[in-house]
């Protein structure tokens, strides 16, 4: 749960970061930025801001803005009906992104949200800077984090069905509830 005031402030900050990163967006697009707290009511620590530029039955293009020290919780994109699941390419536009996937534990420069060791189980660290990109196969568990400067990245993918994403943290709900404060 976030308040309307929190939502508006995060939208504004994300729009500024996106524009600062050189991505030209309209005012209407800025107003459509989705502020996601994953139902954890702790936006500053666990959350993401999402601007959807393209959403068809076949592909999706989103700009993700991570506030300073914000972490997107570990999740994966499961198969749906005849579809093998979302394939996603992340391209970093601004800032440094600490990205975690399956494999050997090389965890070094990121941090685990306090008390949540069990919710962040992927520990192969990939440090990504502007122009770096990686492609996630459907079903690959991953999470990522920004540090002090925040980060802006593109997500290019096959059709996105966000509400069907699966999360390691059992407390997560994908729909963010906004309350008028």
């Amino acid at each position: 749960m976030i308040t309307r005031k929190q939502q508006k402030a995060a939208q504004k900050q994300a729009a500024e970061m996106i524009r600062q990163a050189g991505i030209n967006i309209s005012d209407g697009e800025a107003d459509s930025i989705e502020v996601v707290d994953f139902g954890l009511s702790n936006l500053a620590k666990e959350g993401v801001q999402v601007l959807t530029l393209v959403q068809t039955e076949r592909i999706s293009v989103k700009v993700l803005a991570m506030l300073p020290n914000q972490t997107e919780p570990e999740h994966w994109h499961p198969p749906v009906d005849g579809d093998p699941g979302k394939e996603e390419t992340i391209r970093v536009i601004a800032g440094t992104v600490y990205f975690y996937v399956a494999g050997e534990d090389t965890f070094k420069d990121g941090f685990i949200v306090e008390g949540k060791d069990d919710c962040y189980t992927m520990r192969t660290e990939i440090v990504m800077n502007p122009c770096d990109q990686l492609t996630l196969d459907p079903g690959e568990k991953h999470w990522f984090q920004a540090r002090e400067g925040g980060a802006v990245m593109y997500s290019f993918s096959t059709i996105a069905r966000d509400v069907l994403d699966q999360f390691t943290d059992p407390d997560i709900v994908r729909i963010t509830k906004v309350v008028e404060s």
Copy 2:
């Protein structure tokens, strides 16, 4: 056919335009820009410069740079095997793009390449500026043009199989031949 010198000059100009548009690309990416003359040997008039950022078996992301007054010939993306054909969303980043699709003749601000009326048959004009975007269904015929300032745009699509694109102009060959001059 283009000369190596023409290719390098167009690559350089395209990379500058792309960066000027706020899109951060690496030097390796700049060097990978494809200069396409469609086999017409008239790059300044009919051609396009293409930087492929993502190319998987499911999606494709390209940056298209149009030199001043350059026209991309009329074409469409046919069905291939079990695939209905490429679905493509164009988003303009810099400059103005004159885009032509099927429908009523509203041709007004663009121009037809001299002597090529039969090769540009779509005449519904859509003038696109930065942040404007449109989605083309598979099979939809289209062509587009930049004017004095050139233009930079993204193409977000399902899997691209460029060599299977079909063109109205029978003289077109999709593979550009580069000769050492």
